[in-house]
Amino acid sequence: MVLALYALVMGAFFWLQQIREDSVMFVTIDQELRQQQLLWVVIALSVVIVIALLALWRYTKHRTQTEAALVAETAFRRAMENSMSTGMRVLDLEGRIAYVNPAFCRMIGWNEADLIGRRPPFPYWVPGQHESHRQTLDAVISGKTPSSGIELEAQRRDGSRFTARMYVSPLLAPDGSQIGWMTSMTDITEPRRIREALTAAHERFMTVLESLDDAISVTADIADGMELLFANRTYRSLFGALTNGHQELLAGRRGRYTDESVEIYSPHVERWFEVQHRTLAWTDGRRVRMQVARDITDRRRHEEASQLQQEKIQLTSRLTTMGEMASSLAHELNQPLTAISNYSMGAVAMVKSGQVDPERLLTALEKAAAQAQRAGKIISRIRDFVKRSEPQRQAIDIHVIIENAISLAEIDARKRGIEIEHEPLENLPSVLADPILIEQVLLNLIKNGIEAMDQSASRVLKVSVRQQQNAIEVAVIDSGHGVSDPDRLFEPFFSTKSEGLGMGLNICRTIIESHHGQLLATNNPEGGTTFRFTLPCASTDAQSSALEAAQANKTNEEFPA
């Protein structure tokens, strides 16, 4: 347009020149007309020049604006490239580095100048791993890299290494033809370290959980039972990967979510556990129960053993006291008895000799009678003693007493190679008795039985229980030598044993009778002796003791012997 305007102005100029030549030659006729024509030409030319100038100004302004926009755009892109943390690299189709961004340079520690135009091997390849790097590069160039990217290790200029994740995409020219490969690379060393640390932590945690001796299980209640969400090794080895064990140790707490700790016996694995229940929010937000069960069987066994030991010691000392008392009573009674015997024998001797001195004889007999009185006083002192130690009766399962007595007698029995057999009966009512006293009676009867069986072929002593209306009968059946006159056994100072005092069975009978029971002895038809005693059932005595009995039974169920 500017050229067109110029041509127009030049045309107008040449035309004007012509006119002037014409006017020199022909000034006359057309002078006026020519002058007017010239004026119009000048005006037209001026207008044209103004328009041209305006157009030029507008063009310049537009160009300046476009240039500024371009500069801004370039700067923006450059800034983007520079500030990007992802390393960008362009490989041409032959595998030469065509472009790297500053992040890439920073990542590997080499300058752009060192890299552009380089062919493999690239300086950031890890020495000794060139082959794998080359394979990766081949994969990149042949476009076989997965869209999820590939993980590779690279070495920085300073020799340190890092792990990177690389994504590859084809680089396309504006006309759609591929001119290279665009790769973006991220340093994943830190995320990977964190991930590995997390994995290791998890593994450590699992190792600890797995190697714990406590059985740990987590369950959630579902519509048709329970779901086992977690179980450690100890739990699995005890109960398998099933909810049975958890359910058993829950002991009726299903549906309840409480934090409590209880001691529970598992009949399934025959062990005692201290079980802690905790309510947790599971990873999926559900409310679940965690159960930590510690095997306390050995601890309990130890506790029970030491308790038994303690009881034994107490009983031994009590028996020692009883023995001492019996021994001193025996000595005391022996004195008047000896005197009476002496006076009588002396009197007999005097009468036999025929030289009777009535006065002396009378004195001796009076003295004998006085000694009999003295013996009587000793006896009533024993009675007082027995009265003072009235039995402490309570409702108790007879089996508890029997088991205690057997455990005490067993040491002696084992030494003599005798087995004590006892089959408990279920659903027996409790008896009303002083457990310590009855235990002593039973212990006495069992020990007698064991001693009687010293020489016999059979090595089994039986303790049996049965119910008789409102009483429980306990029988101690030995297969020993038997006794010639069972009724005499209970007489005081009667003993079949060479070292016996003859007080044991008498005291036993007194104890049983003070319990409103009976103690009897009979010889077995097949040899040996049976001692039976009865004790009244607790329920027949009072309603309150029936309650006690129920409670006692409950306690026994919780702690099977």
Binding site: N334, Q335, T338, S341, N342, M345, G346, A349, S353, A368
Partner: protein, 207 residues
């Protein structure tokens, strides 16, 4: 010093009055002479060696026990047989006392037959002891009558030396030795060398 020819007294030591008195009654009815004491101390205060007899003593007594009394009697070289009264036999104690010379045990209450048997056995032993003691005393008395030279000669005879050796030992003639020998035989009232030896040896333990 004259010793009684037989022992006849039963000494009873028991702290229990009834037992003591009744035992005295029983033994007296069996014609024994009885002396009873309530304690070992009371018995010892009256005890003299020239009172032969047998001792029945309770093992259990306040103060000096029966066993301690036995010890004391052994220390005093008493020959009195001892029997113990016990409630019920205690084996270690029994063994111990038997070793020290106790004849037996009497268990309360006493069986009359056992008692009589034991007491009579004790008297036998007491009399036996008494006879031995009497014989020993006599021998001692006879030996006491020998002169110093005669005793020297006797020692050598007992040691089995011949007259000639004795004469050499003592620096005297054989004839003198023979004369001493004859005197010794006469003083000890023996006729053979064998009897002479018996008398000399029987007296020996008390030397």
């Amino acid at each position: 010093m004259n010793l009684p020819t037989t022992a006849s007294t039963v000494y009873i030591v028991d702290d229990d009055e009834a037992v003591r008195d009744s035992l005295r009654w029983l033994l007296e009815a069996n014609t024994y002479r009885v002396k009873a004491f309530a304690s070992a101390e009371a018995f010892l205060s009256e005890y003299r060696e020239d009172q032969p007899g047998v001792l029945i003593v309770d093992v259990r007594m306040p103060g000096m026990s029966g066993l301690q009394l036995q010890e004391e009697l052994i220390n005093r070289k008493s020959l009195m047989p001892v029997v113990f009264i016990t409630g019920h036999g205690d084996v270690p104690m029994a063994v111990n006392t038997m070793k020290k010379g106790a004849v037996d045990f009497l268990e309360k209450p006493f069986n009359e037959t056992d008692l009589r048997e034991i007491v009579s056995r004790m008297f036998e032993q007491a009399n036996d002891n008494l006879q031995k003691l009497t014989a020993q005393r006599e021998h001692e008395a006879m030996l006491g009558r020998l002169t110093a030279r005669e005793q020297q000669v006797l020692e050598r005879i007992v040691a089995g030396r011949l007259n000639k050796q004795i004469a050499d030992d003592l620096g005297i003639s054989i004839k003198t030795v023979e004369a001493h020998r004859a005197n010794i035989m006469e003083k000890l009232q023996v006729t053979t060398v064998a009897d002479l030896m018996k008398v000399a040896l029987a007296a020996e333990p008390n030397k």
